[in-house]
Symmetry: C2
Subunit: 173 residues, 2 copies
């Protein structure tokens, strides 16, 4: 096990600024490109991260700490952001940063003792989970979506790189 | 073809700040983790990006514009950073940002007319390449290494996420 709460927060607290550094002010060609029908562009990924702050991570953590395994926590709608109304990417980045800061305050308040991280709850699909597995998944969820954005942008230049395609692993998955 | 020079520069100019936002001040557990024997941690990736600024991208572009296909440009040592002496990750991030800013100034000076991007040179391994393919590869090279850092950090929590492993694509490549 590698998890510890300080190191987890070190990633979670950096994600908004990392996304803003990568995406803020980028031309629409980058913000609006995706990997094909049914896949998300960078703007949609930020929308999905916003929904996660609102309805997934902290609400689920609070639910586990409150209810234990007595009832499963509600399923998370992974497509909620697709009907969440339009805002600019810039505004979404700001909103995500505000929500994440608030989430981390709540995390500190909920987990004022590391023993809370060993509490268990009931995931609606795969049953018994620990609070610290949820927090670990939150960290990896940030990283998986950052990776998705970066991969999507790289693929936009798949033809443009010419023969270099063979040296650039990200283009050959 | 999706390439245009302004959009390429939009990515290239953001990479140093994106890396700093992600990595600056991170605990050693994150900066020093890798994907196993012979793979690079985040600190080593930044070292590799520094070497690229010094000896790969702009030097090769200048070589193509000067020499055309008359002689192949020198091979790039992809492992040079492993013997480049030790500095802190923080110092490397600063050095990369300085070098990248200088590279982009040189790019502007070298490509003062977009026609230059159609010039061809001779890659030592795969022959004829265009200047704009080199610049495209530079962009994707940034993204591939950002992706590598993010994937490496995610894998550190592969066990920690418990049953969520099945939902987190980055852990299942």
């Amino acid at each position: 096990m590698n998890f510890n709460i300080e190191e987890a927060v070190a990633i979670l607290s950096r994600t908004p600024q990392t996304l803003a550094s990568l995406l803020s002010g980028l031309p629409e060609g980058w913000l609006g490109c995706n990997e094909g029908e049914g896949t998300w562009d960078a703007d949609e990924v930020v929308g999905h991260l916003i929904e996660g702050e609102k309805t997934n991570w902290i609400p689920r953590l609070a639910f586990i700490l409150r209810e234990g395994e007595s009832k499963p926590f509600p399923a998370f709608d992974r497509y909620a952001h697709l009907s969440a109304g339009s805002r600019t990417t810039e505004r979404k980045l700001e909103e995500f940063a505000e929500l994440r800061a608030r989430s981390l305050e709540r995390l500190r308040a909920l987990v004022d003792n590391e023993e809370w991280l060993e509490k268990t709850g009931a995931h609606p699909a795969f049953g018994k989970v620990k609070a610290r597995e949820l927090v670990s998944a939150w960290v990896v969820h940030d990283l998986t979506h950052l990776s998705q954005i970066v991969r999507t942008m790289a693929l936009r230049y798949k033809t443009d790189v010419g023969p270099w395609v063979q040296y650039l692993g990200i283009l050959n998955r």
